[in-house]
Amino acid sequence: MGEKHLVSEQFLDALEFRGLSRRDFLKFCGATSALLGLSELYTPQVASAIEKASKRPPVVWLNFASDSGCTESLIKATYPNAADLVLDILSIDYNETIMAAAGKQAEEVLAKSLKDGRYILIIEGGVPTKKGHGMIAGKEMIDILKDFSGPAAAIIAVGSCATFGGVPSANPNPSQIVGVSEALKKTGVNKAVINLDLCPVNVEYLVGVVVNYLLLGSLPELDSFGRPKMFYGRIIHDNCERRAHFDAGRFVEQFGSKEETMGYCLYKMGCKGPMTSSECPKVRYNDKINWCIGAGAPCIGCAEQGWPDKFARFYERLPGVKIPGFGGIETTADKIGAVAAAATAAGIAIHAVASASSGRTKDKEKEEGK
């Protein structure tokens, strides 16, 4: 096996000593390669990247206007699981939800991280810009963000609140909450932020980004919303397990109906899949046991900037989407009709490209098989 020249026996022994079996380690690396869209041939490289990071990369995880749902996501991780993440892969030096220290002791930990610098700064929650609406240890959250952004090796905003404000920034935004990029702009800091949208963040995206960073020493390619293209490059509707039913004009018209038991399309129940970009259908949630649409729930669009207001009235159908099988546009609405139509057209184009490229992959696999 190729991993031999990239990962030393010594390292694998050391892992075993730390309670992580070789098999589990390589399984983790394989899962991560798959997630990053790399072929299994890259598994040894992922393993090697983790070995080289012999000092576990320090992480400072700050909670601002959040509900700790993304921390909850973090500890629901499977390959690697939460214990692997905490003990073997990362050094989560500051996270108020799980850390032993409190008060002054916690402040000391934070001060040390700031002094040492070069940490991965993970922000959960939006940033209140109204005075006194968000404070930790007597300091405004926005000031804490400013102080900690400078020495950070990378900044990752996890979940819809940290990216663009999320639910607490919904109209009328009582605490004038903004996302991390916007808050940094306000404080005059010019630094790239990786936005991992979704409410809550999918922990596999977070692990993927961190491993990508360890593997390539660089940050993943981002789209115009600061989201990694590898996780937000495709529209949910185009990869949905119920897509064939949409194309055939078969829809669920009422929850719990016979049509639902047949797994028909949820578009008419309000599904925002046609306007939402995320790898949810592939990555799924909670050890891949299920995902929203899989369980019978229309997508609420939580991966997109402007959520939730942009998609408010979650159970009303998106306007302006062409329904196959019935000819023409089903409904037109004044609000976002034009945008929706454009997005869907783009979605269909992307769908075609994706189909073509997956065809190519198959051919390539055939060749390699020979």
Binding site: S68, K76, M99, I289
Partner: protein, 448 residues
């Protein structure tokens, strides 16, 4: 007189500051400060009521399901709609997964670090191979010099009373429990799509149609959790408790208890919920009283809001006005809820005491057996305090996990009889009021 400020208060959800004044080694006065305001009350106004259950889940990422269910129940009430039997049971199951997840997480990952000295575990002399392995892992971790979330704890402080061997066992189970709380959440996702932020409990019931395949998957997974609670969680509580018996009567609080009740019965009678509704007052303990939402008020005298009168949440007002930290005047974003003008304890101990005094058979047996085992048969008052709270959570966790198995069987029976409905359709009236009264693992919720 010494004054101590703890900010941030860690291992909780949310942003909290605690100030205490200490005199002669005792707390003389204390102030708790919620340091974040988001304003869900304001955000929800004027929206499609069917969106509310999604939005309110974002109040708490540790117990989103309870917030969502309370919201959907208030809509059920307003729309005059009753979920079909399987819809009711699926909501119970998704809620149950969250309770089991939350109690495991609370005991092992949030509370235990105040009782378990992680570093002392290095001095243990384990005989069992699995414990030796954990100890080696811990040694390597400590030797790395990167203590991560365990950095700067009070390790070695004399208030930690467990011997090294039990500390090591607890560390081993801390790691195991990380896996178990995740498994409990994965189980909610089987029905709810994902956890946190489940997707299938809208007003009217559930939009997940369970299949026989789901149910087989579910029963095997819940059995694993039940076994773990019985064979690890409960024994751990029993192993740790004897070393902290002097905490038994500590922090009794006001000893008034309130539970709205949780886990709906087929009759939809809140007094027949698995954990029923009721109130208990210190003044006539152990008398059980009815609990009525009309008797709740929220006071903002010391909170950063406009207003002077305590108001029932049904007519509550939320107008933020930050005026700086002033312990003599206004110092927090939290409102002060009162029941009949009294501060009430809510959460597992409140629910288990109400269940016990209601004669709920499972709760009665669990608590009677526990009281007998510690030589206090028939005296539930010994449960008031720190140790009682820890015990109540563990017993409730067992009670819920066991009930969850039964609910799975009920769904299968319903499917057998052809009763497969999960959702009742409804018309949304132009004007309506509704109320949801329910429980999160950490206590009572009202939504209207």
């Amino acid at each position: 007189m010494a004054r101590i400020t703890i900010d941030p208060m860690t291992r909780i959800e949310g942003h909290l500051r605690i100030d205490v004044e200490i005199e002669g080694g005792r707390v003389k006065d204390a102030w708790t400060t919620g340091t974040l305001f988001r304003g869900f009350e304001i955000i929800l106004k004027g929206r499609d009521p069917r969106d509310a259950w999604h939005l309110t889940q974002r109040i708490c990422g540790v117990c989103p399901t309870s917030h969502g269910h309370t919201s959907s129940m208030s809509m059920d009430d307003a729309f005059k709609v009753k979920p079909p039997d399987n819809g009711r049971i699926i909501r119970n199951i998704v809620e149950g997964c969250q309770f089991v997840h939350s109690h495991i997480l609370w005991f092992y990952h949030l509370a235990a670090l105040d009782y378990v000295d992680v570093v002392s575990a290095l001095k243990a002399q384990p005989k069992e191979a699995s414990l030796k392995k954990v100890q080696e892992k811990l040694k390597a971790f400590v030797a790395s010099g990167q203590l991560g979330p365990f950095a700067n704890g009070y390790w070695g402080h004399p208030a930690y009373k467990l011997p090294p061997d039990i500390n090591l066992l607890a560390v081993a189970h801390y790691l195991e429990a990380l896996e178990m709380q995740a498994k409990a959440s994965h189980l909610s996702a089987l029905f709810g799509g994902r956890m946190p932020m489940t997707m299938t409990s809208p007003p009217g019931g559930s939009n997940h149609v369970p299949t026989v395949d789901d149910m087989a998957n579910y029963l095997f997974r819940i059995k694993e959790l039940q076994n773990w609670v019985d064979n690890v969680y409960i024994p751990d509580v029993l192993a740790v408790a004897p070393y902290y018996l002097d905490y038994a009567g500590v922090a009794k609080g006001h000893a008034n208890f309130l539970s709205w009740g949780v886990f709906e019965d087929a009759s939809f009678d809140p007094k027949k919920r698995l954990l029923p509704r009721g109130a208990i007052f210190a003044s006539d303990f152990p008398q059980l009283h009815d609990a009525k939402p009309e008797d709740v008020t929220e006071d903002v005298t010391h909170s950063w809001y406009k207003g002077t009168q305590p108001l029932n949440p049904g007519v509550g007002v939320t107008e933020p006005e930050y005026t700086g930290y002033d312990p003599a005047n206004k110092y927090t974003w939290a409102k002060s809820p009162r029941y009949k003008d009294k501060p009430m304890e809510v959460g597992a101990l409140a629910r288990m005491l109400v269940a016990y005094l209601s004669g709920q058979p499972t709760a009665k047996k669990l608590i009677d057996d526990t009281l007998a085992a510690i030589g206090h048969a028939g005296k539930p008052q010994v449960l008031l305090g720190v140790i009682g709270r820890i015990a109540a959570r563990a017993l409730e966790c067992k009670m819920v996990a066991d009930a969850m198995y039964g609910w799975g069987v009920e769904i299968i029976e319903n499917i057998k009889k052809g009763k497969t409905e999960v959702y009742t359709p409804y018309e949304i009236p132009d004007k309506a009021q509704g109320i949801g009264l329910w429980e999160a693992p950490r206590g009572a919720l009202i939504r209207r």
